[in-house]
Amino acid sequence: MLYIDAGTSFSKIMATNGDTMASLKPICESENKKFYIIRSSEISKLDTKFDGGTGHMSNDYLKDGIEVENEILALAYGVKKLRPELSTMTVLDIGSRDTKWVSFKNGKYKELDWNTACASATGATIEMLCKFYNVDAQTLKANKDKYPVTCGVFGMEKIMDEISKTKNVETAIAKYIHGIAFNAWNFAQKPEKIYLSGGFCESECFVKSLENYCEVEKLGRFVLVCGLEEQY
């Protein structure tokens, strides 16, 4: 079986029960499952139809009769699948263009939210900033200061101001990332611990910034796609 979480920038694919993506090299393998990551702009080249999918870009790549699954449900079922022992928790997923979270208390659903309207300050923005300034996102060091990025446009203005004054691009982007982390923690209702899903798990700058406010446990980029297995 093949499942896809097709985000705006990257797609996460899980192959189960002996299925495989012949043209891709797995990122990791476990329990008869293989996991892949590919740029979403490249999915059409795979010439593959999937058995289940979630995310903005998955609609065109599912087998006939298969409907796109709700991303929050995929996130909720994914964390239950990956960490069945957790009964009280908040899982937060930050994608290219949105932020969503769901919380459980004593094993039961408690709250959720999904923000796309003011999501200019998420993964895609950082990717564009790093490309524009030729900065390797993996080498960014967390900064104790942050920009207010409730409005991504105002946050961007702060970056431009800092760079024009100090010429220190890395510091400016790190402060921006710290602002995103602070926003995400507030958006998720200020939990004591966040189980983090999505591409920001790979950004030490983001994780360290978020740790200023709560404990963080990284679940990686395949939470939603794991949740799909539960839903189809």
């Binding site: 709700n70 449900l73 949105d98 959720l112 999904w114 309207a117």
Partner: protein
């Protein structure tokens, strides 16, 4: 020129509705809060709630056909409704101002809010009853969900709710004939998973967010049309809640 019209918004007093029905017997009533295909004007700021924007856009759109506009300007509506009524008067419209804030102690009757009709149909019938009382007998249903809020600009997302959805908030107040009764507006069934809706930029967002937190419901605000993520939140809440 189309058919002559009596524009209105909010919940004007029944006596005023009756008076103007008699005065213009051939006119049709048009709820200016709703979408009627009017072009967007730029008279009001972009940060105006869509319902109030609709009032202004519709007033411009129907201008030559409107004999009169009956405006709800009391606590049953909002400050924005009151201000727009003054702007329209200043622009030359024939305005009648109505306040609908005092009620008798008759028992509250809400057969449509608790009926088994689809949610959109419930809300349509409740608002239609403002100008034309209908005495249909409705069938009560045991609720699975609650919808709290005002009649939205976008009725499409209401299709996500099952027929077993009870109506709360201002819409229930309208059906009860008590549109300024804030106590009734704040009432919900605390054991019922409820979606608390407000139009973006409407002051009722304050109540909606507070009540959603208090009762473990889902707060949503929608500007013009519900986004995919808003619809997904509702779907997820219904399946997880």
């Amino acid at each position: 020129m189309g058919k002559k019209k009596i524009g209105f918004w909010g919940v004007p007093k029944p006596e005023i509705i009756k008076e103007y029905r008699l005065k213009y017997p051939n006119d049709e009533f048009v709820d200016l809060c709703m979408l009627h295909g009017a072009k967007k004007t730029s008279i009001l700021p972009d940060t105006t709630c869509k319902i109030i924007s609709n009032i202004m856009d519709n007033a411009i759109h129907f201008k030559d056909d409107l004999d009169v506009i009956i405006a709800s300007v009391g606590q049953e509506k909002c400050d924005s409704g009151r201000f727009v009524s003054r702007i329209l008067k200043d622009m030359g419209y024939n305005m009648v101002f109505s306040t609908n804030e005092n009620y008798n102690d008759a028992p509250i009757s809400i057969p449509i809010s608790t009926s088994n009709l689809p949610l959109g149909e419930k809300i349509t019938k409740i608002t239609a009853n403002i100008v034309e009382k209908d005495n249909t007998q409705y069938t009560y249903c045991k609720p699975q969900f609650g919808f709290w809020g005002v009649p939205p600009n976008d009725f499409e997302f209401l299709k996500l709710f099952p027929n077993e959805t009870h109506v709360f908030g201002w819409t229930r107040c309208v059906e009860a004939g008590r549109p300024a009764d804030t106590e009734l507006e704040m009432y919900v069934d605390e054991n019922l998973p409820t979606v608390f809706f407000a139009q973006t930029f409407c002051n009722k967002m304050q109540l909606a967010k507070y009540l959603a937190k208090k009762y473990g419901g889902l707060f949503i605000d929608v500007d013009d049309y519900a986004t995919n993520s808003t619809k997904a939140k509702i779907q997820a809440y219904m399946r997880l809640g």
